[in-house]
Amino acid sequence: MGETPHRSAHAGTGGTRVTSGHEWPAGASARVAETSGNPRTPIGNGLGGGGGLPKARAFGAERAFRGLTLAAGAAVLVIIAAIAVFLIAKAVPALRANTEDFWTFEGWFPNDNPPKFGIGALAFGTVLTALLALLVAVPVALGIALYLTHYAPRRIGTGLGFVIDLLAAVPSVVFGLWGRDYLVGPITDLSTWLNKYFSWIPIFGDGPYGSSILLGSLVLAIMVLPIITSLSREVFLQTPTANEEAALALGATRWEMLRTAVLPYGRPGIIAAVMLGLGRALGETIALALTLGSTYAISFNVLQSGGNTIAANIANRFAEANDTGRGALIASGLVLFAITLIVNITARAIIYRRREFTESAA
């Protein structure tokens, strides 16, 4: 036997936590961890019966195991720091060699001598496609989630929910292939039509049509749709039945019940789902590498063939890249990393604040 667990004084206090342990939302807080406590609390030896127990050894299995888990936990921080450090280390030489302004130059010629490349158009395309995709996907996804949880008959709801979960697991390359081979036709027709009747809106400009930002962001929207749906469906399912029934008992219509009971309760979860979708959309590589026309210009014309994103550009230009070219691509990846990091940290901060709020309210 290694060493003793906590003192009996400690173990007794577990009683109150026994029931509450199940009720927190999963991953809500570290409170369960606190009940198990630190094995090395100072109250040890003086208290009742303690003298009869063996003393804690300085280098027992307990310490070793604890150190092992601590190392694994620290590894996460090390990996994140290492990502930043190594990307910067490889990006800096290429950025030094760049003869144009990295932020504003519209073009990508890092293999030339002198190398010229700029991130502006790529970052713009990344944000534009991701936002357009979310604009399409989020309302539809929330609609489906509400349909599956509150409108559809229960059997159909669970069955289709399972199918949506499966679709969320389909690799993005499949969506990219489908978009490139099959969605191009309808999108070209749609683009022609939009341009004919709505060309007075500046985003519906002239062609050539086909592999445009519109196509890319629609493929992206279809790809993130199952992800956002399956997450928000879980959130809607967790609404306490009592809240829903109370709303209905007060005479609310079904929509009013959804608006007053289900949506407010699920708001942090919905934000989390949308942010996860945004993260996926920002970082999506292959689906966009297959569907975008890859040009290097900042243009709001979503119909014209062209558009590019940081990730798609990396996939498209990696094969031909020399040393500086690789450095340039790594520099662009660093920018993408920074963008997603900012989005994620903001989202997590919102969720953590919100979660405390709903937890105390519930």
Binding site: M1, P5, H6, G14, V18, G21, W24, A26, A30, V32, A33, A61, F65, L68, T69, A71, A72, G73, A75, V76, L77, I80, A82, F86, L87, K90, P139, G143, I144, Y147, L148, Y151, D165, L166, A169, V170, P171, S172, V173, V174, G176, L177, W178, R180, I222, T253, R254, W255, L258, E284, T285, I286, I314, F318, R326, G333, L336, L341, N344, R348
Partner: protein
């Protein structure tokens, strides 16, 4: 007593009609739908501005407007809103099912074209643009080896990290780890690919590769494990939190040290849930293209050794075949995509079934 009963009984039928809310007759909704479609068809074909798709879209909008007006006039504002939102939610469902069904149908119908023994038994070595045969044997080997190594790296690390967060970690450091695990879920796959490119392929691998940077399947496994780690940690963490406190306390009361309690009591109880999380992480990693593209290089020949020379993977195979000019490559791409989706779905379904049998369920 009897008198009260007799006076009460006739009341419900005698209730004056004005006390009941007026409702639209049952035929109202279909009638409005038909009228809306007719109006839309009249407008579209009368003005010659589009085809049947536009008729349906315009008809749906007319239906929503007509339904709201009619319900507003007869049933009142609240009921009208309820009906309109209900219609919107149903149409969101239909809107999303169409493209997703199209993806699935295309995948299956195109994928079975090359689904033969030759596809699974040969590689792309010495296959020219005019050869109709050639297969994905090398890619399947690559996927299995890379995902296998990534799992071997990730599972111990992720489970230990989750144990630290739940059982030992306290205060700011544990919170920081939790927070950055959450942030890590949002790191784009291409960035992890670039990280391994900068760290392993360009800096570490030249040490034992005669000074030249070498692509390898192991590098891809490293990138995939960075992607899998947050998923494994999060799901393990949630499962560990669900383990009832009395189990731990019972073990402590018997004098079992903490590390042994975790390994012998807590982990086995949470095991099915942990395995589910791991399988979902594997399914996601198997479908990733971008990191493999950057660090494994992708080759046409069979390579069983993950530590040396280029390796391909199924997802990368799809992407490469999609980019090739040969008229036979689309069929290969679709069949590989079907194989990949089948692999991912089998893993996902198995994980979900396992989760359903989980005793700890939420």
């Amino acid at each position: 007593m009897t008198t009260t009963v007799t006076t009460h009984r006739p009341r419900p039928p005698a209730q004056p009609a004005t006390l009941r809310a007026k409702r639209l007759p049952r035929y109202a909704a279909p009638a409005i739908a038909v009228a809306a479609l007719l109006v839309a068809a009249g407008v579209v074909y009368g003005l010659g501005i589009g085809g049947p798709v536009l008729v349906v879209v315009l008809g749906a909008l007319c239906y929503l407007a007509g339904l709201f007006t009619a319900a507003n006039a007869v049933e009142g504002r609240r009921a009208a809103r309820n009906r309109t939102w209900s219609a919107l939610i149903h149409s969101a469902f239909v809107l999303a099912v169409l493209p997703l069904a199209s993806v699935v149908w295309t995948l299956v119908s195109k994928g079975v074209e090359r689904l033969d023994g030759n596809f699974f038994g040969t590689s792309m070595n010495n296959i020219g643009a005019r050869d109709a045969n050639g297969g994905a044997y090398h890619a399947i080997i690559g996927t299995l080896e890379q995902v296998g190594i990534a799992t071997l790296i990730t599972v111990p690390l992720g489970v230990l990290c989750a144990i630290y967060i739940v059982e030992y970690g306290r205060g700011r450091f544990a919170f920081a780890i939790r927070f950055f695990v959450d942030v890590m879920t949002g790191i784009p796959s291409i960035v992890t690919g670039l990280f391994v490119l900068a760290f392993w392929v360009l800096i570490v691998s030249p040490w034992f590769n005669d000074g030249r940077p070498g692509f390898s399947g192991f590098a891809a496994a490293l990138a995939l494990s960075v992607l899998m780690l947050p998923t494994v940690v999060r799901s393990t963490e949630e499962m560990l939190r669900l383990v009832p406190a009395p189990l731990r306390e019972g073990a402590y009361a018997l004098g079992v040290p903490k590390w042994k309690t975790i390994l012998r009591v807590v982990l086995p109880t949470a095991l099915p849930g942990i395995v589910t999380g791991i399988m979902l992480a594997i399914a996601r990693a198997a479908g990733e293209t971008a990191p493999v593209l950057l660090v494994a290089g992708g080759g046409a020949a069979i390579n069983f050794n993950p530590f040396e020379n280029n390796q391909s993977s199924l997802a990368l195979f799809v992407y490469q075949q999609a980019g090739e000019a040969s008229k036979y490559s689309p069929a290969r791409a679709w069949t590989a995509a079907l194989t990949l989706v089948a692999l991912v779905l089998v893993l996902t379904i198995a994980a979900k079934l396992l989760a359903r049998r989980n005793r700890l369920g939420r």
